[in-house]
């Protein structure tokens, strides 16, 4: 395990947040931390609840105002953001939920592309349905379609599968890994197995104020990884143990 702060290499191939500070009132969540996302790779950030992983993701998403000397670099466009809740608007049908971004920005709606994406997530038949008719997994797939529709090369996901059952979660992880190929992804999760299945690089947030550590495991490069793979299972045991120690310290 190595501390990330000293290991940042300035390459044009990464998206970086530097010198990041954040505090709630007087309690410092993190200070002076740097974090980088490798281009076109899935970066997973693990950590116990309340440690500040979502806050870090929100810094990338532009939902938290950065206080100087905090700096964001390597990315100019708007990132696509997918939260823990599907956040589907109940009054819009699946198609219009998928098109929400262009509607909000007053841009022309690309219905053909939306239908194409809905087909990819297997929901083209539900395009005219209202979200209340869908199951939890289907709703999350619409959220994924909406995220893909933003057509951003940076995708930020905040525990997107946390509320799903194990099987639906597994299926959606596979789908996500397939659809987010060649995109820079930050996936915040508290599930070690999820991080190990999907993450090209895995980081852990721990301590008070929090710091970020890269977790190096001998894993296959290709994702999604097989959950029955011995290397994945070994790494899961180690990660769980490490998170357990964090939660008791």
């Amino acid at each position: 395990m190595k501390k990330n702060n000293d290991k940042i290499k300035t390459t044009p191939q990464s998206i970086k947040l530097e010198n990041l500070h954040f505090s709630y009132g007087k309690s410092i969540i993190f200070e002076n931390i740097d974090f980088e996302l490798s281009k076109d790779k899935i970066t997973c950030l693990l950590g116990i609840s309340g440690i500040g992983k979502s806050t870090l993701l929100r810094c990338f998403a532009g939902l938290v105002d950065l206080i100087p000397p905090s700096k964001f670099s390597g990315f100019q466009e708007k990132p696509a953001y997918m939260g823990q809740q599907d956040n589907l608007l109940p009054w819009l049908n699946v198609l219009h939920n998928t098109l929400l971004g262009s509607k909000l920005r007053g841009e022309k709606k690309d219905v053909l592309k939306a239908m194409e994406i809905l087909e990819k997530v297997g929901l083209e038949k539900y395009a005219q349905q209202k979200p209340c008719r869908l199951s939890g997994g289907q709703r999350q797939r619409v959220a994924l379609a909406r995220t893909l529709m933003e057509n951003s090369s940076l995708v930020l996901m905040d525990e997107p599968f946390a509320s799903l059952d194990a099987l639906t979660k597994h299926k959606l992880q596979t789908l996500t890994a397939k659809l987010l190929q060649n995109k820079t992804v930050l996936l915040v999760t508290h599930d070690p197995l999820e991080a190990l299945r999907l993450g090209h690089r895995i980081f852990k947030m721990a301590g008070n104020p929090a710091e970020i550590y890269e977790m190096d495991f001998p894993l296959d490069i290709k994702v999604p990884r097989d959950t029955s793979d011995e290397k994945v299972l070994n790494a899961q045991a180690k990660l769980l143990n490490s998170l357990f120690l964090d939660s008791t310290s």
């Binding site: 953001y81 608007l89 909000l104 920005r105």
Partner: protein, 255 residues
């Protein structure tokens, strides 16, 4: 089924009413029989219609004005911080003054004509609409707002596409209350001083011991109030189809 049940209960009430009149032999100027009220409706239908038109006009104008002002106020409250700071306490304090108490004042200011009644109805409709819409606009799901913000939506776009539709269920409750109180506003205005309208007709009939005509006016007013309420309820149900009605489904399931 529900309508049949409502009709049946009304029918039973009318029977009880008729029984009371027949048994106690109470004079018709104290309590007219249901039949006599219907007769009065038939005999005086042109007077009733004429006065009904005035009251309905007052109610509809009051609804339009009250809902518009309520809408504008709620939007300003949510949009402008300064207005929120100054207007919100005033709005709450203004509700401590009973609208009925200022009815004579309204008649003094706006005259005996339709204007004072419209003002009265507007005042009584305004607050439930403004309060519920403001409340709805304020309670927008944080997740939706953050999603919209991450999509680089402007403040106006968020208001139109997220906050307003999200506030519709809350506002529809306000509109239903408004629909229910609108006739009260108009009729109280007419009681204080007027020369036309169902409220005026009731006072007039009461003063001349024409209790049957008074009951007839009351019946017409009740029907109008119901029509207004159910129309607004119908429109709201049609507009807000995504709002779950758990109460109704529970009711059906239990049967």
């Amino acid at each position: 089924m529900i309508f049949l049940r409502i009709l049946l209960s009304i029918f039973i009430l009318i029977i009880i009413w008729q029984c009371i009149v027949s048994i106690t032999n109470v004079p018709h100027y104290i309590l007219p029989s249901p039949l006599r009220v219907l007769e009065s409706c038939w005999e005086n239908y042109s007077i009733l219609l004429q006065n009904l038109g005035v009251t309905v006009l007052e109610i509809i104008l009051g609804l339009i004005l009250g809902i518009s002002f309520g809408f504008i106020s709620a939007l300003s409250l949510i949009w402008f911080r300064t207005i929120r700071r100054w207007l919100l306490p005033l709005l709450v304090i203004s509700q401590a003054i009973p609208v009925f108490a200022i009815a004579p004042l309204l008649v003094l200011w706006f005259g005996y004509g339709i204007a004072s009644k419209v003002a009265m109805a507007t005042l009584i409709i305004y607050f439930p609409v403004a309060a519920t819409l403001y409340d709805g606009l304020r309670r927008t799901d944080i997740g939706w707002l953050e999603l919209a913000k991450s999509m680089r939506a402007s403040k106006l776009s968020i208001l139109i596409h997220i906050r307003l539709p999200a506030a519709m269920p809350a506002m529809s409750s306000g509109l239903r209350v408004a629909a229910a109180v609108a006739p009260i506003g108009a009729v109280v205005g007419e009681w204080v001083g007027s020369s036309a309208g169902l409220g005026y007709l009731m006072l007039h009939a009461n003063g001349r011991m024409q209790t049957d005509l008074m009951f007839a006016s009351l019946l017409v007013l009740a029907i109008v109030a119901l029509i207004i309420y159910f129309s607004i309820d119908f429109i709201m149900r049609r507009t807000i189809t995504w709002q779950p009605e758990s109460l109704l489904t529970d009711y059906k399931e239990n049967k």
